[in-house]
Subunit: 153 residues, 2 copies
């Protein structure tokens, strides 16, 4: 294996380790301090960006998870009154999922805590540096998507 290849593998392993560590800490905070989980947080976050609601299939598309997965999470959130399923007029197959007022209020608190937490975690990174890295990642993601689209043709 070439040296460049070794360096890239090392980068990937470090990236995985750091992100997994942060993600684990986030899961702990959500569980201990907000009695919720990261998948639930992700669903509520997506719904909060679409106050009019999202169809189940749109939601699984946005989150890039399977259909069946969203069904289960929606079931549990719905039992707790944090989201509601609404019939779509003109299509009896589809359901719109939407935050309830209580769900929206609860998510607002969780989102604020999340932002405060990550801002504190990344305190050692300046605004400029953060922007530069985010742009670099954006470019990488865009390039990857291009390839996917090319492959799909």
């Amino acid at each position: 294996m070439s040296n460049a290849a070794k360096d890239r593998v090392r980068l990937w392993l470090r990236l995985l380790k750091v992100v997994r560590g942060l993600e684990q800490e986030l899961r702990d905070i959500l569980r201990r301090e907000h009695k919720t989980t990261l998948p639930r947080f992700d669903v509520m976050s997506a719904l909060s960006r679409h106050p009019e609601g999202l169809k189940m299939s749109q939601l699984s598309g946005v989150l890039r998870v399977s259909n069946g997965n969203v069904t289960g999470i929606a079931d549990r959130l719905s039992e707790e009154g944090l989201v509601e399923r609404i019939a779509v007029p003109g299509d009896r197959r589809a359901m719109l999922l939407r935050l309830t007022p209580e769900g929206a209020a609860q998510f607002a608190r969780q989102a604020q805590a999340h932002e405060d937490w990550i801002n504190e975690k990344l305190r050692g990174i300046s605004a400029e540096e953060a922007r530069a890295m985010a742009d670099r990642l954006q470019a990488f993601a865009a390039q990857t998507e291009e390839k996917e689209q090319a492959n799909a043709q």
Copy 2:
């Protein structure tokens, strides 16, 4: 929220998105082309770095997962003859987990494919850039660990 805070949040979300995307692709490859999963790959990877074997508790410590988690994965790998449980002389509670020759051979192929895949994925990143980013991440991780140790006292 300050601008710096916004930039840090954005960086975190991008980081999560990119790493999750790559991880998902890796899971797909492991499933489709190697009939295995990322958790199994992680366990075998840890064992391959310790040919003499690891105690179950050491393994869960290295991988930073729960004890019960490793039990289940070890059960399934063991059924397929890829790892074996060995009694520890002098302590009848403990078990050493070790790759079988077949497990080691299979992992070697998977590890090579993994390296080739990530090297191709990160082709747009030069060796120098990869080293710089890896070092940056390393510094971040080290700084985080310091704080954890301080908190633990």
